[in-house]
């Protein structure tokens, strides 16, 4: 994780750590904080706790997003402080989920923009000049348009990949495929490194092909407190606890000191929390599989 971040995440870069509730790579975010990256433009549909931590750690210059809350709990308080009291200042550019999905889709398809039927009657375009109108050349209909988003680097957490980065994901897929294809560099972080024969036995499950992947990192439990379907559950208790931690900037700084800056890597982070892996380990629900014969 350390080497992949050092190589592909630089000060001032546009960085995407995607994953909608599922497979959010906290291991990568924590490494960015440890490496003291600065002036990053962070893009995520749901900034989640990871961006709250990156903002509090002073890594972010700008946030591009569509829903900045603590899912199922409430607010992201470091984000709120940054926007409400400018401590630290944070530039924001906001869309709706569909707008962000469309931006990644355009970036992935190498188009300059993506049209969508959206934003009529809302005030969102009035605070974001990048949401514009385009006229359909066939029907004359006026549509919303959003610009392509092409990040410098996208980091995707996944259940498994082979050495070449052929990456298989199941469960909620978010926008990881579009974000990876839109990105100049891709880091894949996996629960399990598998032989290519495992990937080839079930090719429909491959979301990201190795040809667009720059680095593969093996980091079990790298998504905690987010989750990995089939491996471990979401740590809902921690998401609830974050409400109290993040409300108080001193408590948040203590958290970062102890669990992020105070540890060398993910293994040390897990060692600080005995019982965590037992508490959250998934109960198997194995599917029968299919025949690819012909």
């Amino acid at each position: 994780m350390r080497d992949a971040n050092a190589r592909y995440v630089h000060d001032g870069d546009t960085v995407v750590i995607e994953g909608f509730t599922h497979l959010i790579c906290f291991a990568a975010g924590h490494e960015i904080i440890r490496q003291k990256r600065r002036e990053l433009v962070l893009c995520r549909l749901t900034p989640d706790l990871i961006v709250d931590q990156l903002i509090a750690a002073g890594c972010a210059r700008k946030l591009v997003f569509s829903w900045a809350g603590n899912p199922g709990v409430g607010a992201l308080h470091a984000f709120r402080r940054a926007v409400e009291t400018k401590t630290p200042p944070l530039e924001i550019e906001e869309y709706s989920h569909f707008g962000m999905v469309a931006r990644f889709s355009a970036g992935a398809a190498h188009l300059p923009f993506w049209p969508l039927r959206d934003y009529q009657g809302t005030d969102i375009p009035s605070v974001n000049p990048s949401i514009r109108q385009v006229t359909c050349p066939f029907t004359g209909e006026s549509l919303a348009a959003v610009p392509a988003l092409n990040p410098d680097v996208t980091i995707v957490h996944a259940q498994r990949a082979d050495m070449e980065g052929n990456t298989q994901i199941w469960g909620l897929l978010g926008v990881q495929k579009e974000a990876a294809f839109a990105s100049r560099h891709v880091i894949v972080v996996v629960e399990e490194l598998v032989d290519t024969s495992i990937v080839r036995a079930d090719p429909n499950r491959t979301l990201i092909p190795g040809m667009i992947v720059d680095a593969v990192v093996v980091e079990p439990w790298g998504a905690h407190p987010s989750y990995a379907q089939g491996h471990y559950d979401r740590d809902n208790e921690f998401y609830v606890a974050w409400e109290k931690i993040s409300r108080d900037s001193a408590a948040l700084a203590n958290y970062l000191d102890e669990f992020v800056l105070g540890v060398e890597d993910r293994a040390a982070y897990l060692a600080l929390q005995p019982g965590l892996t037992t508490r959250l380990a998934a109960t198997p629900r194995v599917c029968a599989g299919v025949s690819y014969g012909y």
Partner: protein
């Protein structure tokens, strides 16, 4: 006896018809859908913006991306599919919305209280709400009444209602019918078929017109044929308390 949350959940569940395709939010809408499935709408299809289609969660999902939404679902897909094919494609029949501020036309603010550049309170933002408000064939709003939550005008329109910035949904070219009802803790507001303004159409047992109008920040129209809705049945309460939310995750409060 029953709580306001139980009443709101029951009323919302009664709005759902069997076989409908519902875009589900977390909290009370999720409970309302599961109550509907357990009673009058067993073939209701639950779709979550996170990518779960036909979800049958075996536990109460804490977040909209809970792993239990995937296990046993009909389809688990990416968000491009959810927004382009399901929502923009016109497949969603009912959407649930809520927010910090709701105005007389059902416009909803989940973005900022105060000015955008210098907000008093920064809220999470749209998420998928703006496009749900535009595309779902009809939407239902669930919110407790208060003058703070129901101002005459919202500070910011995140999700458009029946009339926004002086134009009707038809004039804006929005596909969906918009918010048809606002389910509150004291009664139900229904959109006027003439101008889309929310009107008091039904009261909960024991509530007065004043209980509602005093908690709304504009002169609320009251329908002549004002109804009183029937309270939760014994069976509806039993399902909510013993089967659907026994740990009172969402039905807390007195």
């Amino acid at each position: 006896m029953y709580t306001a949350e139980e009443m709101m959940t029951v009323i919302a569940s009664r709005e759902l018809r069997d076989g409908e395709i519902v875009f589900v939010g977390i909290g009370l809408p999720n409970l309302a859908c599961n109550l509907a499935r357990a009673t009058r709408a067993p073939r209701l299809v639950l779709i979550y913006e996170s990518g779960a289609v036909g979800a049958l969660p075996e536990r109460l999902p804490v977040s909209i991306g809970d792993p239990s939404l995937v296990t046993g679902s009909l389809m688990a897909t990416g968000m491009a599919d959810i927004f382009q094919l399901f929502l923009q494609g016109g497949r969603i029949e009912v959407g649930f919305l809520g927010g910090a501020q709701i105005d007389r036309y059902g416009n909803i603010n989940t973005t900022v209280v105060g000015e955008y550049a210098t907000p008093k309170v920064r809220l999470p933002g749209s998420g998928g709400a703006a496009e749900i408000a535009i595309h779902a064939r009809r939407t239902l709003i669930i919110s407790r009444l208060s003058t703070r939550a129901f101002p005459a005008e919202v500070d910011f329109i995140t999700s458009p209602g029946n009339r926004s910035r002086g134009r009707s949904r038809k004039e804006w070219g929005m596909p969906g019918a918009g918010p048809v009802k606002v389910i509150t803790d004291r009664g139900v507001l229904v959109a006027s078929e003439f101008d889309g303004e929310m009107e008091l159409a039904a009261l909960y047992p024991g509530m007065t017109v004043e209980d509602v109008t005093s908690r709304v920040g504009w002169p609320l129209r009251v329908r002549d044929d004002l109804e009183t809705v029937s309270p939760p049945s014994r069976e509806e309460l039993r399902l909510l308390r013993e089967v659907l939310d026994p740990s009172k995750l969402y039905l807390k409060g007195g």
